[in-house]
Amino acid sequence: MIWKTAWKNVWRNKVRSLVVIISVTIGIFGGIFSVAVMNGAIEQRVDAAINEEIAHIHINDPAFRDNYDVQLTIPDINRVLQAVNKTPGVKAIAPRVVITGMANTATKSTGVQIMGIDPAAEKEVFRLYETTLPETGDFFDTESRHNLVYIGQDLAKELNIIRYRVDESVIESLAGKELPETVLEKLTPYMGYRFKSEKAFKKEMKSVLTLKEQHEYGKRIRETAWSFRERSKMTLTFLDRDQIQTGAVFRIAGIFDVKNNMYEMGQVFVRNQDLMNLTGFVENEIHQLVIKLEDIENTGPVTEALSNSLPGLEVMNWKEIQPDLAMMTDMVQKFYAILMVIILAALAFGIVNTMLMVVLERTKELGMLTAIGMNKKRVFSMIMLESIFLSLFGGVVGMVVSRLLITFTATKGINFQSYEEGFEAMGYSAHIYPVITPAFFIMVTILIIITGILSSIYPALKALKLDPAEALRTE
């Protein structure tokens, strides 16, 4: 009866209740949706890091990470591989030779980490190969008697392997992409030009296009003018197993794009076969085992099991290799909760205000209820329930709206295209798919109920202090 009465009381002053409900709805929606976007960005980052960059667990010599000494290969590799294979939870293993070296083209050079890999094993662990840019080649699928190297888009730009050109086909293709005539006209004078680097091209575009045009069409123009000549080459120089400088010319097998500048700039992949010929390493001389697990949730236990079965080797999981990721995933959960608490705390004041009005307005009725025998506990519960209903109703609407919008945006994602460079510099994709867990909704529901309870206490205490005889006399 008290529940029913409280619920009906909520709808007594519809406008006032709706104002509170709408404010709760907006607050909850805003909170949940922002959390979903942040959460989506972080989950994508973790997913990319694990599936494209680092996998779950690395095994190497304890001193190897200090300065990537080429001589620190994993001793007794067959025994180690056997032990790893036997460990439950391990899905795939990719052995790697890791050598630090320089990547050079005629105009530029930069330091890189050269990964000597077995493409087939690598594909079992990483889906880096899926990020190969169209028309740049593939992940060592095409057989070649030449040395091959698979590099990142940013490195390709840095080394001027990717260039920019403006020609008839570019202009035509841009016209097809609905670029306004005025912009196309500004590009026509560059017909036949080649730009050695993205920087030079951007600079030139900046000088002819307005800020608004750059913002709106810049990316499309760059993507269209982007040019990669097949069978481009680069030189890699590095130390062989006897610490003697060596090097060779490599053909570009393919270019990958992982939305992470640092990774694209820092890692190049070559077939271990090619590397062995150049360095003198023999089969089974490798520096690192990269392991993919069946389930990321088992990271802790499997790391421990491997450490125990492989004394004398360093076993590190992704949280240890990239502590920033671990911090992100662990800390953001707390941050989300704090964000929701702050939003609800602000809403609570509105609810307190409304409930005070309710008590004031209903002084006479509350006096009557006490007179005819409704005890303090029940009066208190009734006011509290009204407050909970008010906040929960708004909260549920807010949660439903956010759930709908999250579902809607999760299929297509939200593209923060204009901030793409910034996002990618931090390793994040600018195309975010909002994600939220059911557990978060449960937590929010509990927080809303707590808010309802807390904001009813003061008004309910006011109601309890009413003297029935006096309250009945009020008009």
Binding site: M1, K364, L369, G373, R378
Partner: protein, 229 residues
């Protein structure tokens, strides 16, 4: 059988400037089945007396015994419970819960007392029938006339089978036709079911119906007449 004994009751209100002796030594007994009116001009102390009888206010001095319970000795929480079980209230301005229907208003106290649904439904229907509103069971107060609302209030007051019903100026807001209907219903309930009614009033029509008229002035009983039936 005595249902209510008022023994030398005083009520003094002390505010910073004035000291008001609202009730000044009243002694009264009420038998089961009485139909009594307390009359007197405004400020005579009749509402104060009624509040004390109903346990909404405590006497400064004196005793109010309902059956064998001294109201002054009850703690405020047990007093609320005592009111719920023993005293029915009818107020001048009806005071129904506006969001509930006539039926829900009547069964409100039965709900608080945790009656089961079957008993509740039976009693509610019986009471609404007694006040002539069996066809308005699902109407909200705003859809009822003043007289109808007050009849719902009477039904509500009787819901928990109280020892007596206190009605503070029940007809003050009603037109004469509604007053008459209400009084007839109360009289009938009094005669047929032996329910004790005590009301304060200065309405001549009510006084005419009452079988006992207690007149109060300046906080004292100045006359207490019983009419022969």
């Amino acid at each position: 059988m005595k249902v209510l004994e008022i023994n030398n009751v005083h009520k003094i209100y002390n505010s910073s400037e004035v000291r008001v002796h609202a009730v000044n030594g009243i002694t009264l007994d009420f038998e089961k089945g009485e139909f009594a009116a307390i009359v007197g001009p405004s400020g005579s102390g009749k509402t104060t007396l009624l509040n004390m009888i109903g346990g909404l206010d405590k006497p400064t001095e004196g005793k109010i015994m309902v059956d064998s319970t001294n109201l002054a000795e009850l703690k405020s929480s047990s007093l609320i419970d005592f009111r719920m079980r023993n005293i029915g209230f009818v107020f001048q301005s009806y005071n129904l819960i506006p969001v509930l229907t006539a039926k829900e208003n009547v069964e409100f106290i039965m709900n608080l007392q945790k009656w089961n649904k079957k008993e509740r439904d039976e009693r509610t229907f019986e009471l609404l029938k007694a006040v002539g509103l069996e066809d308005r069971v699902n109407s909200r107060p705003s859809k009822l006339s003043g007289g109808q609302q007050q009849r719902v209030a009477v039904a509500r007051a009787l819901a928990s089978k109280p020892k007596f019903v206190l009605a503070d100026e029940p007809t003050a807001n009603l037109d004469s036709k509604s007053t008459e209907t209400l009084l007839d219903i109360m009289e009938q309930l009094n005669k047929e079911e032996g329910i004790t009614f005590i009301f304060s009033t200065h309405d001549a029509r009510v006084v005419k119906k009452a079988r006992r008229v207690i007149t109060i002035e300046d906080g004292k009983v100045i006359s207490d007449e019983r009419k022969k039936v």
